[in-house]
């Protein structure tokens, strides 16, 4: 990854025509975003984004996306380690399964979760007996977000692990360090930038989650109605409010993406 980046940095070999489709690609993304900014009703903007429902949605989104990111780290880091470092049979299949939410429409993910942990799902009766209710709870929002965000963290970290290689780990082990010590003192510090950018991507994906949440969690102010769901609902009666909230989401996402890019840039240098 670093080597490729360095080669790209020299830049002399890049044919000029490449810039034309590249510019079209930029326009494709930038023009609609600029259109949102152009639509914002700046006079009402402060009132729209500070209304009770907007604040509740923003708070819930930040809280659930934070919790989902924590969940992703807890299970995603070990998963990436297994994928990058172990010699288990069937790793390819395992990787394909873990990455599946990347390509699934989120509503399909929502249905899948419903069939797994819903009242009439695979584990519904068992959960019911244990007094655990998943649907319509904030926990179900976190579950949906973790489902769709996990691959982002795993892909990012597995890539970092492969790039880092095993040299330092081998040296540490040869000096008598136990596997856990190698992992905590050598491997993880080495891939920390990759872990951070993976976590930030997972956070951003959680923040934007819509389809799976709508399907499995429903929509109730303060409990399950995250920012994207609030935007979807506001658009029915007050498009100005929807646009104002959309801008908030775009700004938060932009901050997140810039943060990741900054990290990566620092790592490459």
């Amino acid at each position: 990854m670093r080597a490729a980046r360095a080669a790209g940095g020299e830049g002399s070999a890049l044919p000029r025509w490449v810039f034309v489709p590249a510019a079209l690609g930029v326009l494709l993304v930038a023009v609609p975003l600029a259109a949102i900014v152009a639509r914002v009703d700046w006079v009402r903007f402060p009132a729209l984004v500070t209304s009770a429902s907007s604040v509740a949605a923003l708070r819930l989104s930040l809280r659930t996306a934070g919790a989902s990111t924590a969940c992703c780290i807890v299970v995603g880091v070990p998963l990436a380690l297994v994928l990058a470092r172990s010699a288990l049979p069937g790793l390819r299949v395992l990787r394909a399964v873990v990455l599946l939410p990347l390509v699934l429409p989120p509503v399909v993910g929502g249905l899948a979760l419903l069939y797994a942990v819903g009242r009439q799902g695979l584990f519904g009766p068992a959960l019911e007996a244990a007094g655990i209710r998943v649907a319509f709870t904030t926990a179900s929002v976190v579950l949906a977000q973790t489902f769709v965000s996990l691959p982002f963290l795993v892909v990012s970290l597995e890539g970092a692990l492969r790039t880092a290689g095993r040299r330092y780990e081998a040296v540490a082990a040869s000096l008598g360090a136990a596997p856990s010590r190698v992992l905590l003192r050598v491997t993880l510090p080495l891939v920390l930038p990759g872990l951070v950018s993976g976590a930030v991507l997972a956070f951003a994906r959680s923040l934007g989650e819509f389809g799976a949440t709508l399907t499995v969690a429903g929509s109730l102010q303060g409990t399950t109605r995250t920012l994207p769901l609030e935007i979807y609902l506001q658009r029915e009666t007050d498009p100005d409010a929807a646009v104002a909230l959309a801008l908030v989401l775009v700004v938060v996402a932009a901050v997140v993406v810039v943060a990741v890019h900054g990290r990566r840039g620092a790592g490459a240098r």
Binding site: V20, L24, R119, S219, L233
Partner: protein, 265 residues
């Protein structure tokens, strides 16, 4: 090599144009290519999602009576359809699930002739098959521990639910306020909710997937469905013909079979 490279941006632009065309362009182009032979044409009807079953049937009946005419439908939430129509979508007829959304189209002066009320719909309680929670009345929905799902007040079915609450003096504490009646029905058919407030026609269309519990107070929250031909239509006569067919006795019969009520006199 250089010459071939110069052609690439052109190809890219063409590709992009192709990407951008999408389904909205498919309607008129299909219609124009069809009109080059004989005289067949396609009219595009934008109709509220709750009309899917009955309008699909009405479309087939209309096609049978007007050989050479094809009726294409786009079913969605009424407010989504209004946004599309105002943005210039190629629609010939619009059938709304409430008067408020038709008023928005009228305001933009996009209606040809006038809007005609053609049906009404009332709320009904939908429960999972067999009504396991034994919901018998609207007041039962306020029972503690019962998971009730409704539409958000911002959408027509939610506005009707608020009216029903006022009419019965019952305050609901729903576990979810969905953005569309389809989502409410989904929560009931999947068994996640003990009860949901949907339209009587949704209960009818869902068949054995739900058990309906009508309640008398629903008469206080009736939704009226208007239909209108649109002024931007290139097939004004056919659009008006479809509107008139829906509001005819034959059209009413199909709608009544789906559970819709008579329009207000």
């Amino acid at each position: 090599m250089r010459r071939r490279a110069a052609a690439l941006p052109v190809v890219a632009v063409l590709l992009l144009a192709g990407c951008g065309a999408g389904p909205s362009a498919a309607g008129p182009s299909a219609a124009s290519s069809a009109s080059s032979s004989a005289a067949p044409l396609t009219i595009t009807v934008f109709a509220a999602a709750s009309l899917r079953t009955s309008f699909t049937e009405l479309g087939a009946a209309f096609e049978a009576r007007h050989p050479g005419t094809t009726v294409a439908f786009s079913f969605a939430g009424s407010s989504d359809l209004v946004s599309q129509i105002v943005a210039g979508a190629p629609a010939d007829v619009f059938a709304s699930a409430d008067e408020a959304n038709m008023a928005k189209v009228l305001e933009q002066e996009l209606i040809a002739g006038r809007a005609v009320d053609f049906a009404t719909n009332v709320l009904e309680i939908a429960t999972p098959p067999g009504n396991p929670a034994r919901v018998a009345s609207f007041a039962d929905l306020a029972r503690p521990g019962l998971d009730v799902v409704v539409c958000a007040p911002q959408v027509p079915c939610g506005a009707a639910a608020v009216k029903a609450e006022a009419a019965t003096g019952t305050t609901l504490t729903p576990v979810s306020e969905e953005s569309s009646v389809t989502d409410v029905l989904g929560k009931v058919t999947s068994g996640e909710a003990d009860a949901g407030l949907v339209y009587a026609t949704d209960v009818r269309a869902a068949g054995a997937a739900v058990t309906g519990v009508p309640f008398p107070e629903s008469a206080g929250a009736v939704n009226t469905y208007p239909i209108a031909a649109l002024s931007n239509s290139e097939h004004a006569a056919d659009a008006a013909a479809f509107r008139d067919f829906v509001t005819s006795a034959d059209g009413r019969a199909v709608l009544a079979a789906a559970g819709f009520g008579e329009p207000p006199a």
